[in-house]
């Protein structure tokens, strides 16, 4: 297992991944299912919170609407109608969601989609917990709120992917160090100095620099991979990369 400070040389830029947005309207059932899972995993939380706050829906209704939205999206191939030249995918998705919820409201006789059955295992309790502790956005900031939740979703997924990759590659020290350095913010702590980390991990400060540089590089690659999956076109991918990471990838 490689736990050396420099790690192994890897692609510095994302391997080309198929866009889940594009694959969502593929004629191949397997591709569609996989794309659907990717999109749901990235968007269900922003969608759920958005429905709860913007549409002021109680918990149960919001759960049903969230699941119903994604189910209908795949049944009616909503995402296949996306035109990348007109808007960002998440703007399109939010517009679809607003239309869906408005229609459901009009119908007033919204049928339960499979009762309590779930199409995916979504952590609605976790989402509710976040809603309880986070300040509620004002009505005119709801679009920004959706975007912010989307960013949270992308980074949460990227971090999960990063963890899996580091553990899979036997780079436990890289992972522990990266999390210790970066995620100490969750407890509101200041970033530890490299010197303090060196003492804590029994490494030299240059090793700390190398481990963290490797961790950053891999994490960044995974974020870009995730963005590639969640965008439809190269242009949108670049735009989102610029917005999230401050750079236009060549």
């Amino acid at each position: 297992m490689d736990d050396s400070p420099h790690g192994t040389p890897r692609d510095r830029f994302p391997v080309t991944r198929m866009s889940a947005v594009v694959a969502a309207s593929s004629s191949n059932q397997e591709e569609r299912t996989r794309a659907f899972e990717v999109l749901v995993s990235a968007y269900w939380m922003p969608v759920y919170k958005y429905v709860r706050i913007k549409w002021n829906k109680p918990t149960e209704d919001a759960r049903d609407l969230t699941q119903g939205f994604f189910l209908e999206a795949i049944e009616k191939n909503f995402f296949g109608r996306y035109d990348a030249s007109k808007a960002k995918f998440r703007t399109f998705l939010r517009t679809c969601l607003d239309g869906f919820v408005a229609n459901e409201n009009k119908a007033a006789s919204r049928k339960k989609r499979g009762g309590d059955a779930t199409i995916l295992s979504l952590d609605f309790e976790g989402a509710e917990e976040q809603l309880r502790v986070a300040p509620t956005p004002s009505a005119n900031a709801i679009d920004d709120y959706f975007d912010k939740e989307w960013v949270r979703s992308v980074f949460s997924l990227a971090l999960e992917g990063f963890r899996a990759e580091m553990l899979g590659a036997g780079k436990k020290t890289h992972l522990r160090l990266f999390e210790r350095y970066v995620l100490c913010a969750e407890e509101g702590a200041e970033k530890p100095s490299y010197k303090a980390l060196a003492a804590e991990f029994d490494l030299s400060t240059s090793d700390i620099t190398n481990y963290l540089a490797y961790g950053r590089r891999e994490f960044r690659r995974i974020v870009l991979d995730k963005l590639r999956e969640l965008t439809a076109t190269d242009e949108e991918y670049r735009r989102e990369s610029r917005a999230l990471l401050g750079v236009d990838p060549e």
Partner: protein
């Protein structure tokens, strides 16, 4: 899946935002500051085991125009080997296409922060003198800075003074460095030409479009810029424009006030700032005159060079008359007495002693 807090997302974004210098000998540690064209990071030089500053272009640039400008900026700074100009170590390109260059890591305070401390006027003037000398050195090599301001000057822990951020600098004229042509011919080499009338313009202000230095383009910081610069008369910009900015920096050091804070915009009407002594009566008239001469609205009335300002500041510090201020007889006497106060005190003490001897012993 564990959902991240706002703080954690912010930190992760910061980390992922750091440029990947994996193909170079540098490892980024954290962001130091950001400008319109590039962002500066603290980095570790793996080969030499030292900390450096790395400036990375903000955007990848497939067309090459921005990259050329960044390369040109690096060349200009590399050309200006002077103790008060931060030395460049090397230049390179990231795998995502962004150009970067590494330079000496400057630690210390920006002059605007430093001036807010307890430093005396004399200390600040000595720093200012070094700034003038660095700018004079650049002028002698045909380079004008165009964005001189206290925020672009660092004062190091050992008293060293460094003029930073040559991102909007411009190379002028005959027998000067052809950085522009060098960019096309050889991306790593500077050369000196004999009969160049071309003007190679370096990276522009953040809002300026690439290559746009035509009349009307305002480059620099309005609070410190010369009137011709504020009016966008780019063809008039030369060392006298930097002389004006030096005067504006001196104004700030004397008064702790930004000269054109009120307008805040180059396009707005510039209200002539009050004379330094109207703000603080303790400011000596001579140094006020130096400041006002450098900041003259009429270009011909300014000092002809940064070197001349430095010379007048040295005269002032040495108790000599400055060129900018014609003294009357009382002021001359006062300055002479002040400069020679030790001798004057000795003579005075001697005379008192003689008087005492005359009265008490002579009788």
């Amino acid at each position: 899946m564990r959902w991240l807090s706002d703080n954690a997302v912010k930190r992760l974004r910061e980390e992922a935002d750091l440029p990947d210098l994996g193909g170079s000998k540098y490892l980024v540690i954290h962001k130091v500051g950001a400008g319109g064209m590039g962002t500066v990071y603290l980095a570790q030089d793996v080969d030499l085991g030292r900390k450096v500053a790395v400036k990375v272009m903000n955007q990848a640039d497939s067309a090459g125009a921005l990259a050329s400008r960044m390369m040109r900026e690096a060349r200009i700074v590399a050309l200006l080997e002077h103790p008060s100009i931060v030395p460049i170590h090397d230049v390179g390109a990231l795998e995502d296409g962004r150009v970067f260059y590494s330079m000496k890591l400057v630690q210390g305070n920006r002059l605007d922060e430093f001036a807010g401390g307890t430093s005396s006027i004399s200390d600040l003037l000595r720093i200012f003198q070094k700034v003038c000398e660095a700018v004079a050195f650049a002028h002698a090599r045909g380079v004008i800075h165009r964005d001189l301001k206290p925020e672009n000057i660092m004062v190091g822990p050992f008293g060293e003074v460094l003029v930073m951020d040559w991102g909007v600098a411009k190379v002028l004229g005959e027998g000067r460095v052809d950085a522009d042509r060098g960019a096309k011919d050889d991306r790593t080499r500077l050369r000196v030409i004999q009969n160049a009338d071309l003007v190679a313009t370096l990276p522009l202000a953040p809002d300026a479009s690439p290559g746009d230095t035509s009349g009307g383009t305002v480059i620099g910081t309005p609070a410190y810029m010369a009137p011709e610069q504020a009016e966008g008369k780019t063809d008039l910009l030369d060392q006298l424009s930097d002389v004006y900015a030096l005067g504006a920096i001196l104004y700030f050091l004397l008064t702790r006030r930004v000269p054109f804070e009120a307008t805040g915009s180059a396009e707005g009407t510039r209200i002539r700032p009050p004379r330094p002594r109207q703000i603080n009566r303790k400011i000596p008239r001579a140094i006020e005159a130096v400041c006002l001469k450098a900041m003259s609205e009429i270009r011909e009335d300014r000092y002809a060079s940064a070197e001349e300002i430095a010379a007048d500041v040295i005269r002032f510090l040495d108790g000599e008359p400055v060129l900018a201020y014609p003294e009357n007889i009382f002021e001359k006497t006062g300055r002479w007495l002040n400069k020679n106060r030790f001798i004057v005190l000795l003579i005075f003490a001697y005379l008192i002693m003689r008087v005492l001897v005359f009265f008490f012993v002579g009788r």
